[in-house]
């Protein structure tokens, strides 16, 4: 999941506040929950940044695709609406939401306290685990003590870096921060690093499935679940404007519904086979 700091979101929020925006009247959309027949939201404008395979990307023919996109479609169906996808670069995601360019962001946005200051989130719709990647031949488990003396590259300012500094470094590993995850892969290839700590889906797409990563794998499958709350946060949710509480409740109900009826699992298996992306 992406954790790039959305300074711009805060600027946007500040702009909003500075404008002395009067509280808008409660949207009439907040209407009767007990009338499922008439669509309350005839169209839901969904923002995506299609540069995050396999979650959000564009196919060769230019169609939006991926887990996020399919989840969005399923949720729109649940709330009796139609999705209209709007492309937006990551840097302007939250400002665009606040400027009402679209109604929700369904683009693998991690739920963080920082973002919660300017926008609201539904509960998570996925939460990918992270893992420590080293040579498969070492046959190591996931426990921190196993990586004593190993040199591991991590992405700067990521949740994985927090975990590596907090748990692996005290256990005797050397942790080296990098500006981009791709640089970490290059340095593993060149032999400067023994491995990395990364999101399971990211490392599979960017390294393990490539020829360079053939001899590597996730030690012990994933980082033990008990560290999730402390380091890795709550996962990715649908972001929306704070005043849209009725929509948030409807989408939360929608997430629960597709979890219950098997649609969620079907989509997860389709896009990210073999990994549990719901988390603990």
């Amino acid at each position: 999941m992406r954790l790039s700091l959305l300074t711009l979101g805060l600027i946007g929020a500040a702009t909003l506040a500075a404008c002395g925006k009067s509280e808008p009247p409660a949207p009439t959309a907040a209407a009767p929950a007990a009338a499922p027949a008439a669509p309350t939201w005839p169209e839901l404008r969904v923002a995506i940044d299609p540069t995050y395979k396999p979650f959000t990307y564009k196919t060769e023919s230019g169609e939006p695709a991926g887990f996020d996109v399919d989840i969005a479609k399923a949720l729109c169906e649940q709330i009796n609406s139609k999705c209209a996808f709007v492309e937006q670069a990551w840097d302007g995601m939250i400002p665009g939401l606040l400027a009402k360019k679209y109604d929700v962001i369904i683009s693998s946005m991690s739920i963080t306290d920082e973002r919660k200051q300017s926008v609201d989130f539904t509960g998570k719709y996925y939460n990918t685990p992270s893992c420590v990647v080293v040579k498969t031949a070492l046959n190591l488990g996931a426990e921190a003590a196993n990586f004593k003396g190993k040199k591991l590259g991590v992405l700067k300012a990521s949740t994985q870096e927090k975990y590596a500094m907090g748990e692996l470094q005290p256990a005797g590993a050397t942790v080296v921060p990098y500006d981009a995850q791709d640089q970490v892969y290059l340095d593993i290839k060149s032999g400067r690093l023994d491995g990395t700590v990364a999101d399971v889906v990211e490392v599979r797409g960017g390294f393990l499935s490539t020829p360079d990563g053939a001899a590597y794998s996730c030690a012990g499958g994933r980082i033990p679940v008990e560290f999730d709350a402390k380091y890795f946060g709550t996962g990715a949710g649908v972001a929306l404007r704070k005043e849209d509480t009725a929509l948030r409740d409807a989408l939360d109900a929608g997430i629960k519904a597709i979890r219950d009826n098997g649609k969620w699992k079907e989509l997860a298996d389709k896009h990210v086979p073999g990994i549990d992306i719901w988390g603990s």
Binding site: L8, I11, G12, T15, L16, C19, K21, P24, P27, P50, T51, Y52, K53, Y57, K58, T59, E60, S61, G62, V86, E87, Q88, A89, D91, G92, P95, G96, L98, A99, K100, K101, D182, G205, G206, S209, T210, P211
Partner: protein, 233 residues
């Protein structure tokens, strides 16, 4: 690989469209700005000064975000004050053309101001002496002579403007840069080094447009320098 390259190629039209649109806006604003700065009226000088100072002092990206997002919030607030659910959406293409045109208009102001000042004052005085109006004098006497002085700096501004159009990918327009980024992300794992290949292809397209325009502008320069003997150092 080919479908991805073709998809990036589609961005060529958006990039060229934004660049040419912005150039038109910039040229008009630049001429107006230069006229304001050279006008005998104090208040017009002041407007021209504020325009070129404020615009050139703030990064392009900040203007883009300010006008596109800030402008949209303003439009929404006004629409809501009048009881509409939400304001009309600012079109990203229009926003991109106007922002880049607005910013480069300030640079063009200085280009045109310098060029107008390079035309000897006696030329326009001669026009007025013949009873031509100010505008007519400008159009028939000053303009054809200033082009020669303006072109080198104009060419420079155009090249910078062309590359500044890459900023429109921030507001979601499918220009060359944006599509290259998307293709790089989509082909990851399928094509080794996809991100670098597609970015290099995008770079090549920009180089192609700039080389072509350099060629044309150099021809224009030669055309407007007819009758002037070029000195050599």
């Amino acid at each position: 690989m080919t479908p991805y390259l073709l998809s990036i190629l589609e961005g060529l039209w958006v990039t060229i469209g934004v660049a040419l649109g912005a150039l038109c806006v910039a040229a008009v604003l630049g001429l107006a700005g230069a006229a304001a700065k050279l006008s005998p009226y104090r208040w017009l000088n002041w407007i021209g000064d504020v325009y070129s100072t404020v615009i050139r002092g703030v990064p392009d990206l900040v203007w883009m975000l300010l006008l596109y997002f800030g402008g949209q919030i303003l439009v929404n607030d006004i629409a809501e004050a009048f009881g509409f659910r939400r304001g009309p959406q600012i079109n990203p293409f229009v926003a991109g053309v106007l922002t880049i045109g607005f910013v480069y208009g300030a640079y063009m102001t200085e280009t045109f101001r310098g060029a107008i000042m390079s035309v000897p004052k006696g030329q326009s005085e001669a026009g007025w002496a013949f009873g031509m109006s100010r505008f007519y004098t400008f159009r028939r006497m000053v303009l054809p002579q200033m082009v020669r002085f303006a072109l080198p700096s104009f060419t420079n501004n155009w090249l910078v403007l062309l590359k500044a159009t890459a900023l429109v990918s921030v507001i979601g327009l499918a220009d060359i840069t944006n599509l290259a980024k998307q293709a790089g992300a989509a082909a990851r794992g399928e094509i080794p080094g996809a991100a670098i290949i597609f970015m290099a292809f995008a770079g090549l397209l920009y180089l192609l447009i700039s080389s072509l325009s350099l060629y044309l502008l150099r021809k224009a320069e030669a055309r407007y320098s007819v009758g002037v003997k070029r000195g050599t150092f």
